[in-house]
Amino acid sequence: MMKPQEIIARRVAQEFRDGMLVNLGIGMPTMVANYLPEHLTVFLQSENGLIGLDQRPPEGMEDEDLTDAGGGYVTAIPGAVRIDSVMSFGLIRGGHLDMTVLGGLQVDSKGLLANWVIPGKMAPGMGGAMDLVTGAKKVVVAMIHTAKGVHKIIPKCEWPLTSARPVDMIVTDMAVIINTEEGLVLTETAPGVSVDDVIAATGTPLIIANDVKLMNI
């Protein structure tokens, strides 16, 4: 059976289009890079200063000046560009970033995301997340549907928001949910998951699309 993270990464990869500039957040979103369609030319932005992020280098061939936002060693595609932090966030805020994929702690019925702090418990900080959600043309949340059974998609976020700008799409190990003017719409389910399973694992009402599809992964 496919791991939950792999289901998510494979499905998110289908959102890529030729020529896109995309930022993948630290952690699970980074896995998306492993499943990109081969025929596409896409530019992955690493907010620490690179357009054209590529895979890990072979062991022993790391470059200490070529890293991702988590500090891990990476390589770059031919045609890659080095940018400084000002330019990096100019691209993000300035409407030049086609898509961002981030992890989520909670998403609410209006599509608002909380993903940077649990008050009194965990305070990693927002890093680039607030800029990314506010500035990217398309915002995709990639997350496990529940936290060990506890609902993460809920009526209103309990934890501090990342942005006042709602996300466009939630991809989980169970479903694809699109955020619309009318509300959150369930459009796809993962293999072996029923619409009722998704409803039960979601803490806020979902609009069920007329033609809920099976995730094609």
């Binding site: 500090g71 000002v86 702090v117």
Partner: protein
């Protein structure tokens, strides 16, 4: 031409209570030898402005561990649990700033701007205490300049004049901090004769650099 100095000598310029900008992203492109010299020298009550606090005991994480830092202005401490522990214990004040706004606040200080208007942070904790500015009917958050007494930066190459060139993701906050710090101390992998860095390739012009850290010789 200027005289390159040892980190041990340069660090004596920094008093207790100084506000320091330190370049680097997860320690990549940080001035490691200046940080080591600071730990050795033991200045107290420092304020650090930096993207992150790296990892425990690494780069800026060394200064967090040594207890020399009382205030951090940063975007991310998620990969350094020691910073989080000291924050929850009340030993270090941590101001979390969205990364893009942090870069722009530093840029504002270095480029003579009274502030920068952004959308980032609206409707979140990051807007607390900030002025909302309306321009032609549209609302923005005012992010104010962030000044520092010193900028400790790292470059790939310097020349004898102090012109700097950065390399790949070691660039990050270094060029903008070099503009914003009142006194700029630049560490580099190598120091080259004047002219070896072509004019088109200079990222930071020598006129904003105050001190060069002598290169480390291995023999």
């Amino acid at each position: 031409m200027r005289k390159a100095k040892q980190p041990e000598e340069l660090v004596q310029l920094i008093p207790n209570g100084a506000v320091l900008m330190i370049g680097g992203f997860m320690g990549v492109g940080s001035p490691h030898r200046m940080i080591d010299a600071l730990v050795e020298s033991g200045q107290k009550d420092l304020t650090i402005i930096a993207n992150d606090t790296a990892k425990p005991g690494f780069a800026i994480g060394k200064l967090i561990r040594s207890g020399q830092v009382s205030h951090v202005i940063t975007s991310h401490i998620g990969l350094n649990p020691e910073t989080q522990q000291k924050m929850f214990a009340g030993e270090i004040k941590v101001d979390l700033v969205p990364q893009g706004s942090l870069a722009e606040r530093i840029r504002a200080a270095g480029f003579g701007l009274g502030g920068v208007l952004v959308k980032t942070g609206f409707g979140t904790l990051a807007e607390e205490g900030k002025q909302v500015v309306e321009v032609d009917g549209e609302k923005w958050l005012l992010e104010k300049p962030l000044f520092a007494d010193f900028a400790l930066i790292h470059a790939h190459q310097a020349d004898y004049l102090g012109n700097l060139r950065y390399q790949l993701t070691s660039t990050n906050f270094n060029p903008v901090m070099a503009m914003a710090g009142k006194y700029v101390i630049a560490e580099s992998n190598e120091i080259l004769p004047i002219g070896m860095i072509p004019p088109d390739d200079v990222d930071t012009p020598c006129v904003v650099v105050d001190e060069l850290v002598a290169v480390r010789l291995h023999h």
